[in-house]
């Protein structure tokens, strides 16, 4: 899922300080699962915005709404339900959702309530960790399913750097060295020999370095 977290409240209040009618718009997709921008979090944020604006001497009407997802045109259209009830949308979706509203609602002011952080998962309640960088050229078949692009601080492709100590990353000792994990896992799988093959120079053109990426499936387009 896409993992995100709420922006500092002061930053949000500064964005909307001149707005008179604010729609705090939740997304029931990834940000609901990572407890950053679902209906529950949007309700809390709306309350905080009401309190914060009132404290700062601003008067605004703050209402709440939610969409199934904010990353699909068919759901964005549902914003019409609140037509006339807002002069700004404070989206608790990830950056994709905010972009989609901006793309598809040319006259709507939209502001991001979240900082979108990474593609990750939750192995224990309340904890999320980055697992994928969306680089567009997956090498997980070579590394036992563990990603060196996302989970190595240096995105190294041919084993650990010299700073790996006792299985921990030199950038942040609380992070496990993914190359140590790969080495150990490939040993358990009796595939360690595969790691002796040198990874070729990597083509990063799939990773967004050539600008925004787009995928078109002709069989699905109409």
């Amino acid at each position: 899922m896409i993992v995100a977290e709420r922006k500092p409240l002061a930053e949000i209040l500064e964005m909307v300080k001149d707005c008179k009618k604010i729609l705090v718009l939740a997304c029931r997709g990834c940000v609901t699962v990572c407890s950053a921008g679902g209906e529950r979090e949007a309700e809390i944020l709306a309350s905080l915005v009401r309190l914060g604006l009132k404290k700062n001497g601003c008067r605004a009407e703050v209402i709440e709404g939610s969409l199934v997802r904010q990353c699909d045109k068919e759901y964005i259209d549902a914003i019409d339900e609140w037509q006339g009830q807002y002069d700004a949308i404070l989206s608790t979706a990830c950056g994709v959702g905010v972009n989609f509203i901006a793309n598809l609602r040319p006259t709507d002011n939209v502001y991001p309530a979240l900082n979108t952080t990474f593609f990750g998962g939750s192995a224990e309640q309340g904890v999320w960790s980055e697992q994928c960088a969306g680089c567009g050229n997956c090498v997980l078949h070579l590394t036992g399913g563990l990603c060196p692009v996302a989970r190595c601080a240096k995105s190294l492709m041919n084993g650990p750097c010299g700073g790996s100590v006792d299985g921990h990353c030199e950038i942040n000792p609380s992070v496990d060295c993914v190359w140590q994990m790969i080495y150990d896992r490939m040993g358990r799988l009796d595939r360690r020999q595969e790691l002796t093959a040198a990874a070729p120079i990597r083509d990063w053109s799939t990773a967004g370095h050539g600008g925004p990426r787009k995928r078109i499936r002709d069989d699905l387009t109409v």
Partner: protein, 135 residues
């Protein structure tokens, strides 16, 4: 300037069950501040952050939660969950440059103990010193 604060208390059913005996007369006799409004909940672990924020939106000058001791919660971890939600609101108040101590968590034993009265008096005193809510 002295004022009578509007204080909301959310208390766990077990911690406050003796408090309601005789329709709360015993509480009054023991000096429980009249300006503290008590809402009993089945378990403080069921309290949502939004409930605490709504109390401020509704005009509370201070809010506090009384739940079981952390090591003997009737529902195991309920009061620990409540403490985390109180802490989240404290942080949010801090982000708005509002005194975090306008909301507090107390862990008190079951039944009507002097500490239950003391906590109310402490909150009352604390909020009186802070003054009216800035909201």
């Amino acid at each position: 300037m002295s004022f009578t604060p509007d204080i909301r208390l959310f208390s766990c059913h077990y911690t406050s069950q003796q408090s309601c005996v005789g329709e709360g007369r015993e509480l009054q006799e023991l000096g429980f501040p009249e300006n503290v409004r008590l809402s009993r909940v089945n378990c403080t672990g069921k309290l949502e952050e939004i409930t605490l924020l709504k109390a401020f939106e509704d005009g509370a000058d201070g809010v506090y939660v009384v739940g079981c001791p952390t090591d003997s919660c009737h529902n195991l971890q309920g009061s620990q969950r409540a403490a985390k939600r109180v802490e989240a609101v404290r942080q949010a108040l801090g982000e708005m440059d509002v005194e975090p101590d306008r909301i507090r968590m107390y862990h008190l034993p079951r039944g009507l103990h002097p500490e239950f009265i003391d906590a109310a008096r402490e909150m009352n005193q604390r909020i009186q010193e802070m003054g009216p809510s800035p909201f």
